[in-house]
């Protein structure tokens, strides 16, 4: 699936730089400024998006360590402090468990997807080159079934673009992703 924000942002920035900005009225200072701000924010997004997940995990790890320290140093205090510490213990435990599950970064998942696409694609081509008819039939059926599910998600991913003649036949992406 290649309709990803990095390519989209790159294309938008090129259109803004090459076509839109030169056409903005130089006397309309507000429009000039806001066009440049749009481009600046898009450039910022392009840099931040690949790092967003790592940034959040990094912060969560720091907060987990900090919460452990807080539990250690906050003392017994009064009722309010004890209640807050109890609440923090519960929240910190949930955060630690979550952090434990978030071991792989999105970019690693993306790379694994690419590798799996290539490896499975190679099997398809090979079977149709030197496999027997029965194996080809089985591979065809399996590929069509897997692709049906994948393509449904790819179509739902871009449903707001308006390409589908019958958009109601495509479930919402939120539902498909579980």
């Amino acid at each position: 699936m290649q309709t990803r924000p990095d390519l989209q942002i790159k294309s938008i920035l090129k259109a803004m730089t090459d076509v839109v900005l030169p056409a903005v009225d130089p006397d309309n200072k507000l429009a000039q400024e806001q066009a440049r701000l749009c481009m600046g924010l898009l450039g910022l997004m392009a840099r931040q998006l690949p790092l967003q997940f790592r940034f959040d995990c990094d912060e969560l790890a720091r907060l987990s360590a900090y919460s452990a320290e807080l539990q250690r140093i906050a003392g017994d205090g009064g009722a309010q402090t004890r209640a807050a510490i109890t609440s923090l213990e519960k929240t910190a435990a949930e955060a630690s468990a979550l952090l434990e599950r978030a071991k792989a970064a999105p970019v690693e998942i993306e790379m694994a997807v690419r590798s799996m696409r290539e490896a499975t694609g190679s099997v398809i081509s090979s079977v149709f080159r030197d496999g027997d008819a029965a194996a080809q039939d089985r591979v065809q059926k399996a590929t069509l079934a897997m692709s049906k599910e994948q393509l449904l998600r790819e179509r739902a991913w871009v449903i707001t673009q308006g390409w589908e003649p019958d958009p109601k036949s495509v479930p919402p992406i939120e539902e498909l992703l579980g």
Partner: protein, 399 residues
């Protein structure tokens, strides 16, 4: 695909692809040129003045006498080429001093579909007087005068969609009112029949190779063309595209009778005059070839180019008429029969080609900043899933 730098392809890899995927000579030349130039700079905006300068150089080389290029301006429309409108003040042969509206159509550094300006030029010239086409005047096939290869057309009157209609880019998603489609549909069928019954042997089509009749060469050249492009341009592999290529190769149809194929015959690619609903020009011949008429029949019936009628149930081919009516009218107008099994194969073929352009080429050229409208190319990538689902279903339901 790992291990190959497709943004800087090596001569060895280019040679390997040429050997693996034999295609028509001119197609081979254009694809090879694309790969040899890929590591060059991205597209950078060309000022109108530079286009005027290049057009002036081209027209001087064509010895058209004294002339003046007036009112140059940008035109939008189309996803693949840059277009500049202008008025040529010149001594028009046989007409004396004239002011002729014209359009310069030029490639960007890389296009969503890499094609030959020479083929486009020859094909349009060949069809003058057979179907309405914009007059085509001059060709800079190798970009000797302009920054990239280009054609100069006469300006054709008409609109690609009703002035009041809503449509997406490239005319996709255009909805025609019933009274208009009733008038356009018969012309739409008739012109397709004329193209397919045209005697290509009498025309100068030297940039085309003619596939052998009673063989699978035509289909094989086609699959080689698009599988080669997928290999050249693709970034992320697509298992269904692998299956698509394998399925096409194991079901190659035999060509009964070579015909000229427009290859992009659809709503959005013709102009019509609104006051009399007359088709005034057929555009976008760049993918045309001498091939199998079933390719065009399959193309016009793609889900991407039509929509549901007012009843919400009947799918209209190119937004004009139901598919069965379209086929029936075509057979009557052309005297040629249509084999549903071959149409089915070409539907898979067309979707495979579109899958290649949308999943492979679009990514490659937008990623490399190679066009004047990468943002449009990126937008169009969104249609790929729907077209591949069509291909998937077609393979599943193949007769």
């Amino acid at each position: 695909m790992r291990g190959i730098d497709k943004d800087r392809p090596s001569p060895e890899w280019i040679a390997e692809l040429r050997k693996r995927f034999p295609v028509e000579r001119e197609i081979d030349r254009v694809l090879t040129r694309k790969m040899q130039r890929r590591s060059g700079p991205p597209y950078s905006p060309v000022p109108l003045e530079k286009l005027v300068e290049g057009t002036t150089s081209l027209l001087r080389a064509c010895n058209i006498g004294t002339f003046d290029i007036a009112q140059p301006r940008w035109l939008s429309g189309g996803a693949s080429k840059l277009q500049m409108a202008f008025t040529l003040k010149w001594d028009r042969p046989g007409a004396g001093r004239a002011e002729t509206p014209m359009v310069l159509r030029m490639e960007p550094a890389e296009s969503i579909v890499e094609t030959s300006r020479l083929r486009e030029f020859q094909l349009i010239r060949a069809f003058e007087g057979t179907v309405p086409v914009p007059p085509v005047y001059w060709c800079d096939a190798e970009g000797e005068h302009l920054p990239y290869p280009a054609l100069v057309y006469g300006f054709a009157e008409g609109v690609a969609k009703p002035t009041a209609a809503q449509a997406g880019v490239s005319g996709l998603g255009t909805h025609l009112p019933p009274e208009l489609r009733a008038r356009l549909a018969p012309q739409f069928v008739d012109y397709l029949a004329r193209i397919h019954t045209f005697d290509y042997r009498k025309a100068d089509l030297s940039a085309f190779d003619v596939p052998a009749a009673d063989s699978t060469q035509c289909a094989e050249w086609g699959v080689n063309w698009w599988e080669r492009v997928f290999e050249e341009d693709g970034d992320e592999d697509v298992p269904l595209m692998r299956l698509g290529a394998a399925w096409l190769r194991s079901h190659l149809p035999v060509l009964d009778k070579p015909s000229v194929v427009h290859a992009d015959y659809r709503l959005g690619n013709f102009l019509f005059t609104e006051h009399d609903a007359r088709i005034s020009a057929w555009l976008d011949w760049e993918l045309g070839r001498v091939g199998d008429r079933h390719q065009d029949i399959a193309w016009t019936t793609s889900r991407a180019f039509g929509h549901l009628a007012e009843d919400g149930k009947t799918f209209l081919t190119c937004g004009l008429m139901p598919e069965n009516q379209f086929i029936e009218a075509y057979e009557k107008a052309s005297g040629l029969c249509i084999d549903p099994k071959v149409v089915h194969w070409y539907k898979v073929y067309n979707d495979y080609m579109m899958g290649t352009l949308l999943y492979a080429t679009s990514y490659r050229i937008a990623h490399g900043g190679k066009t004047h409208q990468d943002v449009l190319i990126t937008w169009l990538m969104g249609i790929g899933g729907m077209l591949l689902e069509e291909m998937r279903t077609l393979i599943e339901e193949a007769p």
